[in-house]
Structures are given as C-alpha cells and as structure tokens.
C-alpha cells in the first residue's frame, strides 16, 4: 500500500501547479420543481486544499457535492474539474474524470450484496484490471487496516455499525487513489467520540495522500477539524468564505447565529 500511496504522491508532486483550481464551481443555479436550492454559488478548491461547506439542513450542500461529481446537472453555471467543464459530458467521459475523485455518501451507500472486502475491491475490479487478484486482495486488506477494519473483511454491510459502514465507505472512496475526496456529512449519525475519531482518520488520510477535499457538513467542530477554509451557505448562496477566524470576526447576522448554535 505504501508503494501505491508513494506513487500517487510522486505523481501529484510532479504535476505542475498551473494555477488552475482542481474544482471550480461558477455561478451555479439549481432548482427542483419550484424549490430553488442553489442560487449562483461560486467556489473553488486547489490541489491539496481542504474546504468545508457549512450550512443548515436543506440549504443545498449535498446537492453542491453531487453537482461536483456529476450526479446532478446545474440549471445554469459551470462545474470545472481541473479546467474541464463537466456539465453535459457523456457518462463514459465523465467516468474518466470521476476516477480522480472519491465520494463518501452520507449513509455510506455500501453495496448490500457484497462483503466489506467486496465493497472496497469493487472500484479496483473495474478500473485496475492490471492488478492480479492476489494484489487486489492485498490492497483491500491494507486499505481496511488503515481504518482498523481488517478483521471485518468478510462481514456483510448489514452486520456492521453505522460508523463502521462510514469507514468502509471512506476506504472504498480511496481505493482508486483519488486526487480529491468529497465527503457528504461524514460525522452525521456518529456519537461525539466516534465523530472525533473519524475526523482524525480523515485528517490522517489527507496528510498521507496530499489530497484535496471538500467536506459538506452542518457540524462546525468537524469542519474546523478537517478543513483549513470554510464556506457558509444560506438560501442557496455562499454567505462567507474564509478561515474559521474570518467567520468569527464576521458581522453578518446569519454567520453569528450559525457560530453560536
């Protein structure tokens, strides 16, 4: 595993920093029926940077993440992944871009017909056909060991707790060594101790892999722990963007209200 991580890091270090943000969302609008969810959102994330998108429930945070990975299309605006506008891309072309991205779903979305090991191996079976079965099995074991679940490899998702499911979802998202990790409410439904452990785990993985990440959450503690930059969404738009201390110093009423929750 160390070799695979090293290779990914070397590749990333070798890539020229051409000034193009890895993810750039420009003036995105999204409406479901009569409900306007996003109303001109613009955000960008550079290589290796961690951004937390905060906001109340139902303000379109998860929709924003789904737009970035192409599971939803914006009504207007553009979503660029390393300079390439992904809006309207064909599914197979989009697949090539998605290989650079890992996505942790809010409820983990593990494949319930596969074991824990099968879930982690799934992306590799489709995209790393150069690996032998033994090599793939080794990588699955090593990835699960990173989150302390090597002993659960043969269990079914229904036989493990919600927190464990999230850890499996996280290593599944890491299976293809992505350049950016998208995390949808990573600590939702976890107790405070498990949340803190999960935040530590995400930080450790980010550091080791030098990945960019976008974390969508309403949990301020989690956002502070994981990300260096925060963006606060309200009524479909970014109210403020900056470090935690920028948010603390803001005079905007909604920001103060959110921080004092």
């Amino acid at each position: 595993m160390a070799t695979a991580i090293d290779n990914a890091m070397k590749q990333r270090s070798a890539q020229q920093d051409d000034g193009v943000p890895f993810v750039a969302v420009e003036n995105v609008h999204k409406t479901f029926g009569v409900h306007r969810v996003l109303n001109g959102v613009s955000l960008s994330v550079s290589r290796g940077e961690a951004l937390a998108v905060l906001g109340r429930s139902g303000t379109g945070k998860s929709v924003l993440l789904r737009l970035i990975i192409g599971l939803e299309k914006p009504d207007t605006g553009s979503v660029c992944i390393h300079g390439q506008d992904i809006v309207g891309l064909a599914l197979d072309r989009m697949g090539e871009i998605r290989k650079k991205m890992g996505y942790l779903f809010q409820h983990a979305a593990l494949y319930d017909s596969l074991t824990v090991g099968g879930n982690v191996a799934f992306p590799m079976e489709h995209h790393r056909r150069d690996l032998s079965k033994a090599e793939r099995d080794d990588r699955v074991k090593q990835l699960l060991a990173e989150v302390g679940m090597e002993g659960d490899i043969d269990k079914m998702p229904s036989d493990i707790s919600g927190g464990m499911q999230k850890r499996v979802g996280l290593v599944r998202a890491l299976a293809l060594e992505p350049e950016i990790l998208l995390l949808d409410e990573p600590t939702a439904g976890l107790d405070p101790i498990s949340s803190a452990e999960f935040n530590e785990l995400i930080l450790k993985l980010q550091r080791e892999r030098q990945m960019a990440s976008i974390v969508v959450t309403h949990d301020l503690h989690s956002a502070k722990a994981i990300a260096g930059r925060l963006a606060l969404l309200n009524e479909g738009n970014v109210v403020i963007e900056g470090t935690f201390s920028d948010l603390q110093q803001s005079d905007i009423g909604f920001v103060k209200e959110f921080l004092n929750q």
Binding site: L91, G95, R98, A109, F122, P123, H126, L176
Partner: protein, 260 residues
C-alpha cells in the same frame, strides 16, 4: 370542468413523459451495451439469475399447461369426431401459442418483479449513485447485462416449457388411452416446417427485451423509499406483462404474414 381538463392534461403529459424517459433510457442502455468495457462476469451472473433460477418455475408451469390442454383438447375434439387431430392440436397450441406466452408471463412475474425491486432498492439507498461515482456506467453494469440475459434466456426457457408441456400432455393422454410417444410425436409434427415452430420460439427474445427493459427502467428511475421500491416491483410486472401481450399481437400478425 377545468379540473377535468387539468387532470386529462396531466395524464397526457405523464404518458408522453414516461415514453420519452423510456426512449432516453433505451438509448443510454444501447450505447453502453455496444461499447467496451463489457461486463462479462455480471452478464454470466444474470444469465444464471434469469435462466437457471427460472427453470423450475417454467418447467412446472409448462407441465401443468400441457395436462390442461390435453384434457381440454381430448374433450373438444371428441365432440366433433376429430380425435385423430389430438397430437397436432397439442403440439401446435403449445409451441405456437401457449409455450411462448406462458414462459413470458412467468418470467415477467419472477424476474421482472425481482429486477424492479432490486434496482429500486439500490436506487433509493444511493447504491446506483455510488456505482456511478466510482466511474462505472450503471447502464452498462446493471441494465444492459440484465436486459441481454432476458433476451438470451427467454427462447431457451420457452424450449423447456414446450418440452415439458408436450411431455405432460402426452402422459395425460396415454393414461386414458394407449398412445406411444413415437406415434404422438410423428403425428403431432407431421407436415410441420421449421417456419411453423422457430418464429414463435424466437419471438420470446422480444418478450425478454420488454421484460428486462421495463424492469430496469422502473427500478432505476424510482424514488420515495420503501413505497417507491414496492411501486417499481409492481409496475415492472404489470407493465411488462401488458406490453408483452400487446407485442404478441403485433408479432403473431408479423409471423403469419412473413413466415406462413
């Protein structure tokens, strides 16, 4: 009056929206099916799921329908003094009509409901989104393999239904009055050509297309939790069976015009 007009307009829009979405879905599946990478392993799993696991059901249904046709045919033909027509009546009614339709409806019930519910459950738990997020085309992995398995397996299952129906029909007749199997077959198939039997058997590939396509479409577009899963399973069976029978009307006419 305006509310009636609004309801009619909603129904009209819903009808065309459904067919439009089905058209887009079919195009996506077709594109995914003919472009690599091919999902051979999933296709083999689906062939087993649709074929091997439906076999006991179609065999039993075929055996039952063979006995029913045998009993009915003997009674009806005796009334008109046409008992000598028994073997060919049984053979033609099983192979040309009952075998294909019965197989289609049985598979639509078992496989259509299963596929619709499985895919709908994957949809509402975001597993299909997770497949897509893993850079895997869900139309290729989930839909194309299932539809192709239905297309390939329906004719084979129909042959099994036909064989069981003929066998059980012969046994039901032989128990009442002596009739050797050789006599039954040679009399039943006398004067028959391949054109009389191949088109009705291979038209079931179209049934397979309808069953697979409707089930995958209903499953992958569902929404609304457990209720949505139930709706998708029901609609897969109801719409699949309905379109299968409607398609049969067209195909029977087509076969009569071009093959007889």
């Amino acid at each position: 009056m305006p509310s009636v007009a609004a309801a009619a307009s909603g129904l009209f829009n819903g009808f065309f929206e459904w067919f439009g979405s089905l058209g887009v879905f079919t195009w996506q599946v077709l594109k995914a099916a003919v472009t690599p990478p091919y999902e051979w392993r999933e296709l083999i799993r689906q062939l087993d799921e649709v074929g091997s696991k439906s076999l006991p059901l179609v065999v039993m249904a075929g055996a039952a329908i063979g006995v029913i046709i045998s009993l009915e045919a003997r009674y009806s033909l005796s009334r008109f003094g046409a008992k000598s027509m028994f073997s060919s009546t049984l053979v033609y009614s099983v192979i040309q009509v009952m075998g294909p339709v019965l197989t289609g409806l049985v598979v639509s019930g078992r496989v259509g409901a299963g596929m619709g519910a499985e895919l709908a459950s994957m949809k509402v738990t975001e597993q299909i989104d997770a497949i897509e997020a893993s850079a895997i085309n869900p139309y290729r992995l989930l839909a194309a393999t299932r539809i192709l398995a239905c297309i390939l397996m329906l004719p084979l299952l129909t042959l099994a239904t036909d064989a069981c129906a003929l066998m059980s029909g012969w046994v039901a007749q032989a128990l009442v009055e002596p009739l050797s199997f050789h006599q039954f077959i040679s009399s039943g198939f006398s004067g028959a050509t391949f054109n009389a039997f191949l088109p009705p058997t291979f038209k079931t590939a179209v049934y397979g297309l309808i069953i697979g396509l409707i089930a995958c479409f209903q499953g992958m577009r569902t929404s609304g939790g457990a209720a949505g899963v139930g709706r998708a399973a029901t609609n897969s069976v109801v719409l699949g069976s309905l379109f299968l029978i409607l398609a049969d009307v067209v195909m029977v006419k087509f076969i009569l015009v071009f093959f007889n």
